[in-house]
């Protein structure tokens, strides 16, 4: 479902150009749990941006669900993010002073889902992400790190995306909580069949995935 063909990404083309990605090609199938890993500066973040339709490659093709999205406009990319991709960030990026439920429902606002359906969708996402029901009406800033990350996962899940992209999801968590969050991803993958792409620089975490794509200096090793 994800297919990258000879993706190159060059910043500052001209004199001072940085060749971040060099002829990257790989494929991720539906239902896979893949980790993309590598040292910092290897280009893994840029790959994530391209897979997540936040950025376009300089050359090469990116197919998501058999649709070429390497040459789309800003608004078209926004539509793809809205319908096919769920992001989980290292720093959670929840709206502060806003309830857990409203945070999870946020993508549904932009997806134009009718109000009456939103609660149901948010509730089922929160259940899948494993957040206790008595926390649903709390403000996001009243939760612990692990709970916040589960809210973020629920937010990524809520609109049934094709892939969930997690960018260093355990980076701000202690080891124990990190493991709980990783287990959540694993459960989502096994029980519900979600496709998960995990970006991390930590080898131990990458090893929890079914498959590891190792990047160094812009190429796959």
């Amino acid at each position: 479902m994800i297919r990258l063909e000879k993706i190159n990404k060059i910043y500052n083309s001209g004199e001072n150009e940085t060749h971040v990605l060099k002829d990257i090609s790989f494929e991720i199938k539906k239902g896979e749990f893949v980790a993309i890993t590598g040292p910092s500066g290897s280009g893994k973040s840029t790959i994530m941006h391209i897979i997540g339709a936040l950025d376009s490659p300089t050359t090469g093709k990116y197919f998501l669900d058999d649709q070429d999205i390497s040459l789309k406009t800003d608004d078209e990319l926004a539509d793809i993010r809205k319908n096919k991709i769920g992001f989980v960030f290292q720093s959670f990026n929840l709206l502060p002073r806003t309830s857990v439920l409203r945070n999870v429902m946020l993508p549904l606002i932009y997806a134009g889902i009718p109000k009456e359906k939103r609660y149901e969708m948010a509730a089922s996402a929160l259940e899948s992400a494993g957040l206790e029901k008595n926390r649903w009406h709390h403000f996001s800033n009243q939760l612990s790190g692990g709970q916040m990350q589960r809210v973020a996962i629920a937010r990524a899940l809520v609109n049934n995306p094709s892939i969930i992209l997690a960018d260093e999801p355990t980076g701000n968590l202690d080891t124990k909580t990190g493991e709980i969050v990783l287990k959540t991803f694993r459960d989502l993958n096994k029980q519900y069949g979600h496709t998960i792409v995990l970006i991390t620089h930590e080898k131990e975490i990458a090893e929890k995935a079914d498959r590891i794509i190792f990047i160094k200096d812009g190429t796959i090793i």
Partner: protein, 409 residues
């Protein structure tokens, strides 16, 4: 994104920093309130000036003797002291010029008035029956001057209610009684003027004695001239034409060739109203400009807050974009916020402005007039301020690159 979602997001954003939103709104409130109050004061002034001019009677021309002001050189004797206008002039004007409703010559002087032991000093106006029409007078008792009174030089008088109160006592019917004017001449009272409400602008009619002009010239002043001639035209549109015709007629009658040499001057009431209202309009404009500056400052406050909000919420904008918000949606959201702030400020400002004008007219004694137009104007302006000063911050928010925005610390 539904409109109701835009509304909800906007409200929660505005409420998320109540102190800052409140202070920003306060800036707009002060701006709008001062616009409303200042325009109200200006228009109130305009209205009261116009009303006081109107109360002198409408469609009036006043002909005064003496040189016109545009003649230079020589010693001016001052208006009204010259003796160039005669009663005959007023008769000629009435006879020869069309579109005239009434003409009244006046000879005005102050005299001591006696009745038995009581005496008072009053303005004595020698005039003709049409005086009552021109000055819009009403009688409480008796009747006004008649043509016979003029022709026969009858010694009859109509007195103001104040004079009646002073000489005879309040509510007494003085008709038929005889008063002495200037200590020598006896006049029979035939009428009493109704008491005026406000007292008028130029000396009250309540303290006035009206007698036939012929009697005044013969028995009191022993002169042949008059103090002024008032002309009332049929309509206001006739004023300037009639003014021109009277000028020509009097120039010929007085054997004067050039209008610059005229021995009389004509004051057109329309000119007076126009001059007065253009003054008050300038006054209103000045006040509105001052108020507009404070509104501008309020608008800059909005822009400042919105720019701060964009910077502060960079990560939030990045997040919204990463979950599929389009540029337009981000733009609308920020624009809606600034418009919401200004509209809340606008509504509160209208209420405060109304309240301030109420206080001004209640305790400051200055007439104020809040027009629907100033409210609509203030509300529209506050919307426009929101759009203009929210436009740039909203544009900036919508243009943020989601990758950079998410990384923003």
């Amino acid at each position: 994104m539904f409109l109701s979602d835009l509304y909800n997001e906007t409200i929660s954003a505005v409420l998320s920093n109540k102190a800052r939103s409140g202070l920003t709104i306060l800036g707009v409130v002060i701006g709008i309130a001062s616009v409303i109050a200042m325009i109200a004061v200006g228009q109130g002034a305009q209205k009261s000036v116009e009303e006081s001019i109107q109360s002198m009677g409408s469609n009036l021309l006043e002909i005064s003797p003496g040189v016109s002001s545009n003649k230079t050189g020589g010693v001016s004797q001052g208006r009204g002291s010259a003796q160039t206008l005669t009663y005959q002039d007023s008769l000629d004007i009435a006879e020869q010029i069309s579109s005239i409703k009434a003409v009244a010559a006046e000879l005005v002087s102050r005299y001591q008035i006696n009745f038995k032991g009581n005496n008072t000093n009053a303005q004595v106006v020698g005039t003709v029956p049409s005086y009552v029409v021109i000055n819009d007078l009403n009688l409480e008792l008796g009747s006004f001057l008649s043509d016979q009174d003029i022709n026969n030089k009858n010694r009859v008088a109509i007195i103001g209610s104040g004079i009646r109160d002073d000489l005879f006592g309040e509510g007494v019917n003085p008709i038929g009684q005889k008063i002495k004017i200037n200590a020598t001449t006896e006049f029979k009272i035939v009428g009493v003027l109704e008491e005026t409400e406000s007292g008028g602008v130029f000396g009250s009619q309540d303290n006035m004695v009206i007698i036939p002009i012929s009697t005044a010239q013969t028995y009191l002043s022993n002169v042949s001239y008059v103090s002024s001639i008032n002309v009332q035209t049929e309509t206001q549109e006739d004023l300037s034409l009639v003014e021109k015709e009277i000028t020509e007629l009097l120039l010929i009658k007085h054997n004067i060739i050039s209008a610059d040499e005229a021995d009389f001057s004509i004051t057109n009431q329309a000119d007076l109203i126009e001059a007065a209202s253009s003054t008050t309009q300038t006054f209103t404009l000045l006040l509105a400009t001052i108020a507009g500056i404070s509104l501008l400052v309020g608008g800059i406050g909005i822009m400042n807050m919105m720019l701060t909000a964009v910077t502060e919420r960079t990560r939030e904008i990045g997040l919204r974009k990463s979950i599929g918000a389009k540029r337009k949606e981000i733009n609308n959201q920020f624009l809606a916020e600034s418009i919401t702030l200004t509209v809340i400020g606008g509504v509160l400002g209208i209420i405060l402005g109304w309240f301030i004008s109420f206080i001004i007219s209640k305790f400051g004694g200055i007439a104020t007039n809040i027009s629907a137009y100033s409210i609509v104007l203030a509300f529209g302006v506050s919307m426009i301020v929101g759009i203009i000063f929210g436009y740039y911050p909203a544009k900036r928010a919508s243009k943020l690159n989601p990758i950079d925005a998410l990384k923003y610390e």
